[in-house]
């Protein structure tokens, strides 16, 4: 019997749970325009997981990469939730490099 997959499933719940937290905090302090950086970080981590020999290490890198990429797609909606008062709103954000250019792109929302 192989317990690797079910154990990784439990770890996935923890990673997704942390994803809820960091999306709220990142949007509050940095703003949703950082989404391309988190998406790129997630994809890099996912690709980097191919070069980790340990199955657990590779799987954790892949999971965290997926969580970063998914969180990137949630940042825009989280910004609207904060505007609606469903989460605390903070107007002063730390803008990302190339913010003006990123603002012209359509933020992903799956």
């Amino acid at each position: 019997m192989n317990l690797f997959g079910p154990a990784l499933g439990i770890v996935t719940l923890l990673v997704i749970g942390l994803g809820f937290v960091w999306v709220v905090r990142v949007e509050r302090s940095l703003g949703y325009l950082w989404w391309p950086y988190f998406l790129a970080g997630g994809i890099l981590l996912l690709g980097g997981s191919l070069f980790i020999a340990s199955d657990w290490g590779s799987a954790l890198a892949g999971l965290v990469g997926a969580s970063l990429a998914w969180g990137a797609t949630e940042l825009k909606v989280q910004a609207i939730r904060a505007e609606l008062g469903w989460y605390p709103f903070q107007g002063k954000k730390r803008r990302p490099p190339f913010a003006e250019r990123i603002a012209r792109w359509k933020a992903p929302n799956l």
Partner: protein, 147 residues
């Protein structure tokens, strides 16, 4: 270089893709089914059963990448079973749009003052807080679509 490529470990890629696609699939399907289904208990039970079967498959899979993918998909399916109830709660609070063609949502609209047929999240961020009235006005053009 060629030697390193032969030793790529696909476990992380399988885990990451299973997590991303599993979350995406659940996100879309739970919202769509909860919106249309008169009862959420049957679809929730189906997702829970699918999750248990996927976990059984993960335990029987000999290769780590396959076991990882099945284990993660099983857990996300099990979580989706719970998400049907969380999504219904969002509809009650007005955080997700109610479907006036669904009898269960019609009851929610009658019993919960905050429930609405508008999708208040279907717009671009403005960078400032909005009042409930402004929030509705910003998306009111889509009320027919939401219905």
């Amino acid at each position: 270089m060629a030697r390193n490529l032969l030793h790529l470990n696909p476990t992380g890629l399988a885990a990451g893709l299973a997590a991303f696609l599993g979350i995406w699939f659940g996100h879309v399907v739970v919202r769509a089914v909860e919106r249309r289904s008169a009862s959420i208990h049957l679809p929730a039970a189906a997702f829970l059963l699918a999750g248990l079967l996927l976990e059984a498959g993960a335990m029987l899979a000999p290769q780590p990448p396959l076991s990882a993918a099945l284990g993660i998909l099983g857990i996300t399916a099990g979580w989706d079973a719970l998400e049907f109830f969380r999504q219904q709660r969002r509809v009650m609070c007005g955080h997700a749009p109610a479907n006036p063609s669904n009898p269960r949502h019609v009851r929610i609209l009658a019993e919960h003052k905050a429930a609405t047929t508008l999708d208040l999240l279907d717009r671009q961020p403005l960078g400032r807080p909005v009042t409930p009235e402004q929030a509705q006005a910003l998306v009111s053009g889509q009320s027919q679509e939401a219905a």
